[in-house]
């Protein structure tokens, strides 16, 4: 049975509360771009999409695919494959965080979390709108 507009807002608020608890920065970022003039179901769907996208970019999930793609066309000076993808920190960051590089393969793998949200989002998107004026 399709949810009402108020139901979708209820789910969205719950989603926002969960997000704010574990990822407060991401919560603030997404809140700034929330387009509340849309239909509640569409707001919820777009919010889920945005979480999937932004969490996905902090996940090591795609790392292997990206490395494989690079290694299909790039070789090192020694003729071998690229071994990984790193981010080099500035001098000040090195002094503060006591490390020189961040290996993107060591980011947490959030693939299962993202897929769970994707499945939920697709089910919500597939639900028919409840006809107006008819009992639920």
């Amino acid at each position: 049975m399709a949810l009402s507009d108020q139901d979708y807002f209820d789910v969205l608020r719950h989603l926002q509360r969960e997000l704010r608890m574990v990822e407060p920065d991401l919560y603030e970022k997404l809140s700034r771009s929330l387009e509340v003039q849309q239909r509640p179901r569409d707001i919820l769907i777009r919010y889920l999409e945005a979480i999937e996208r932004l969490v996905g970019h902090q996940s090591s999930g795609p790392h292997g695919r990206i490395l494989d793609s690079l290694n299909s066309v790039v070789r090192t000076e020694g003729g071998g494959p690229i071994l990984g993808i790193r981010v080099v920190l500035t001098e000040g960051e090195v002094a503060l965080y006591e490390r020189e590089v961040v290996d993107l393969a060591t980011l947490p793998d959030r693939t299962n979390f993202i897929e769970a949200l994707q499945v939920l989002r697709r089910e919500i998107a597939a639900e028919e709108d409840e006809p107006e004026g008819e009992p639920a």
Partner: protein
């Protein structure tokens, strides 16, 4: 699906599937330092694939066995890893990441002053003449690429239009450095190419000015 079911599935995803922070030193690194870097690497892999398969270059990573990005942009440092574009046994150009270039407006003013902060801008990926160090001039750029893994808005459009302005003058179409990809001609002098890759499908709403000024907008999501 009921409201309670949806809420329970959300709570379950956050509490069971989102990995809790571990206790090593990496935890205190702000996420802003690595945010977007995976997407930058992904776009670089797409660019590399085009340069190899369409343009026919041999791509060689030098100075490291790791693809290395920077947490903050800066001048070219030749001890840093780069990708050489090689053809017929020689290096034709170099691919650098997170590099600042000297603006067109800087080149038009007196050359006696040391460049100030307003005189250079950064791009996520740059293809420039081989052998450069420091900040390349605007006329030493063949291709600039901006990677955006956030919602694309009008502010970002204005930003990239400014970058285009500081790379080249608007001109009748001129031949680029490239045979086919990303384009053979561009309405710009110097004839550098400028690409914007975005994970937001909304980026294409802002693409029309790019046709006038020679900026190519590409919607390219990164699948988890």
């Amino acid at each position: 699906m009921t409201v309670e079911e949806a809420k329970n599935r959300i709570s379950d995803a956050f509490r069971r599937l989102l990995p809790a922070s571990d206790s090593n030193s990496q935890d205190i690194l702000p996420k802003t330092l690595t945010a977007g870097k995976l997407y930058e690497a992904y776009v670089l892999s797409l660019v590399a694939e085009k340069l190899s398969t369409v343009e026919g270059y041999e791509l060689r990573l030098v100075n490291s066995n790791y693809l290395t990005l920077k947490s903050a942009p800066g001048p070219i440092n030749r001890s840093f890893p780069r990708i050489e574009l090689r053809r017929n046994g020689g290096c034709q150009a170099e691919v650098w990441t997170d590099v600042e270039f000297l603006s067109l407006s800087c080149s038009l003013r007196t050359r006696t002053m040391k460049p100030q902060r307003c005189d250079y801008h950064e791009l996520d990926i740059l293809i420039v003449n081989a052998g450069l160090s420091g900040r390349p001039r605007h006329d030493q750029i063949m291709l600039g690429v901006e990677c955006k893994n956030t919602a694309y808005d009008k502010g970002l459009l204005k930003q990239i239009l400014g970058i285009r302005r500081e790379m080249s003058l608007l001109q009748d179409s001129k031949v680029t450095f490239f045979r086919r990809w990303p384009r053979q001609q561009v309405p710009a002098d110097p004839s550098s190419c400028l690409l914007v890759y975005s994970t937001d499908p909304g980026v294409m709403q802002f693409a029309d000015p790019g046709e006038t000024f020679g900026i190519d907008f590409i919607y390219e999501p990164l699948e988890p």
